[in-house]
Amino acid sequence: MTVLYLPRFRTAALAVWRRNTLVWRKLAGPSIIINFGEPFLYLLGLGYGLGLFIGEMMNMPYLTFLASGILASSAMNTASFEAMFSVFTRMIPQKTYEAILTTPLEVQDILAGEMLWCATKCVVSGTAILIVGALLGAVHDWHALWVPLVLFLVGLCFSGMGLVITAFAPGYDFFNYYVTLVLTPMFILSGVFYPVTSLPTALQSLVQLLPLSHAVDLIRPLVAGLPLSNVVLHLLVLAGYGLAGYLTAVHLTRRRLLV
């Protein structure tokens, strides 16, 4: 019987975070182009194109509505994909964790470092989207400067969840289930492209249980310059998913690696 392990944060986790930033720095050029290029395409194509027909949505220009949704959903994707594909690569084929586990670090430090790194990546790519959005006139308020901080939390939330999937993934193909069954429905339903209120009531309550809608509800008012509501609830949901994911992932990953 394995007792549930209650990890506490140690600065050792920062060594893992640092390792990943060093790798990222080597490939920063292409990655920054993607960070700026992709939102540019989305906002220009969808925001202006669709925006022409839609005009306003929930008392804001459609471009603003969409930009805030994309900020949240792209953080979800960035964190999830890093926590699944990249972490799996380091955990299994590349044996990076095997090497790290011969140092004082333990599984909980490695995964904490990975989550911090995923969250950092979300801040970097999110800031790029924010800049593009501002250049296109989608950002209406200086409060938008809080968005990177929110994105950091969104990154912790989705990387925690992603790490759970990685902990028992037999291979890369396995991630398709999570993408198709969890991430894509969340992307479509959580108010990125249209307000959640236009969904059937039953579906609305279901969507409220998922973290992405809470990320959208925090980011959208900050970008549009509208008053925030239920801030504590949104923060708690995001933090809760992240923490539950982390604890589960530590437990499962220990069982997988420490045999």
Binding site: T2, T11, A12, A15, V16, R18, R19, L22, V23, K26, Q94, K95, T96, E98, A99, I100, L101, T102, T103, P104, L105, E106, L258, V259
Partner: protein
């Protein structure tokens, strides 16, 4: 002598199978200690257990007097590990591998820089400092892995088959480096199935098979205890070999595949006789650890 590693009645079940079946081990400080055994003997599992990388099913382990797994972090901070298969970080260069790994121990950047320079020199990789891992040969990767294991200036270095799959030049170089480390007062604990390696390096060793320790001692003592001092290996027709070898009745005859072994205290008479038998080739040599190993663990194949 104080024990660096002390293991008492260690057991480990893996998927319902008992892979370590009651091991006792006492590794004294400043020695090179060997775990010898065929594949599946439980050598690697024992190393994983003593590093706190695998839950113990029964028994007790202490390293530097600290309990494992409770003090795993503290023990690993003072230990260097060379794993069986290379797990260098392919995203980094040679020097970066050492630097990144050193940070996992919390070593400061300034200290690391001098240490990396010394270590690269120690393993002869100074001119490859900026090379990517993918461009290194197997022997270079192995040497880098050894350098990496030393980045925290460990008191104990654990090596899991350090020279498997390497060419003779690299093996000799690594053996030399390991002797240097022992000279510098470090405790070495290594697994191997190369008898030559064990004989050259180990002050003391245990022979393991199927999760148990069969024998323990210095290489010379084990040879003396278990096999006759002289060995003749013969190839050719079996009945000719039997005739030439067994007529003297003093030694021990064993057939393995197409080779016949004759263990004896005095081989002079037999050698003389063999010289006169056409169709037989033979080799007369002193007994070695391999003879002990094969006698204790049997000659059937292990996979």
């Amino acid at each position: 002598m104080p024990a660096v590693v002390q293991i008492t009645d260690l057991h480990k079940y893996y998927n319902g199978r008992e892979v370590v079946r009651g091991i006792d081990l006492h590794v004294p400080a400043g020695r090179c200690f060997g775990l010898l055994g065929p594949n599946g003997a439980g050598k690697t599992t024992t190393l994983r257990l003593l590093l706190g990388q695998s839950p113990v099913s029964g028994g007790e382990i202490s390293v530097f007097g600290l309990p494992i797994p409770a003090a795993g972090r503290a023990v690993r901070a003072r230990t260097g590990v060379v794993p069986q298969t290379d797990n260098l970080d392919p995203d980094f260069t040679v020097a970066e591998n050492l630097r990144v790994y050193g940070r996992y121990f919390g070593i400061s950047v300034a200290t690391l820089d001098t240490r990396i320079r010394d270590l690269l020199e120690f393993v002869g990789l100074t001119d490859r400092a900026e090379a990517r891992i993918a461009t290194l040969s197997g022997g270079m990767k192995r040497r880098l892995t050894i350098a990496r294991a030393l980045v925290n200036e460990p008191e104990l270095v654990v090596l899991d088959e350090p020279t498997t799959g390497l060419d003779p030049q690299v093996r000799h170089m690594i053996w030399g480096r390991l002797r240097d480390l022992r000279q510098a007062g470090k405790t070495l604990l290594l697994t191997t199935h190369y008898m030559e390696e064990a004989e050259r390096l180990c002050d003391e060793l245990v022979i393991m098979d199927q999760g148990r320790i069969l024998e323990q001692g210095t290489p010379a003592a084990l040879i003396k205890k278990h096999v006759e001092p002289e060995v003749i290996e013969v190839r050719g027709e079996e009945h000719l070999a039997r005739q030439a070898l067994q007529s003297d009745g003093d030694g021990r005859f064993e057939a393995v595949g197409d080779t016949y072994y004759y263990y004896t205290r005095d081989a002079r008479a037999v050698v003389k006789r063999l010289e006169d038998v056409p169709g037989l080739t033979f080799l007369h040599r002193p007994a070695n650890l391999e003879d002990v190993f094969l006698k204790l663990t049997g000659r059937e194949l292990r996979d």
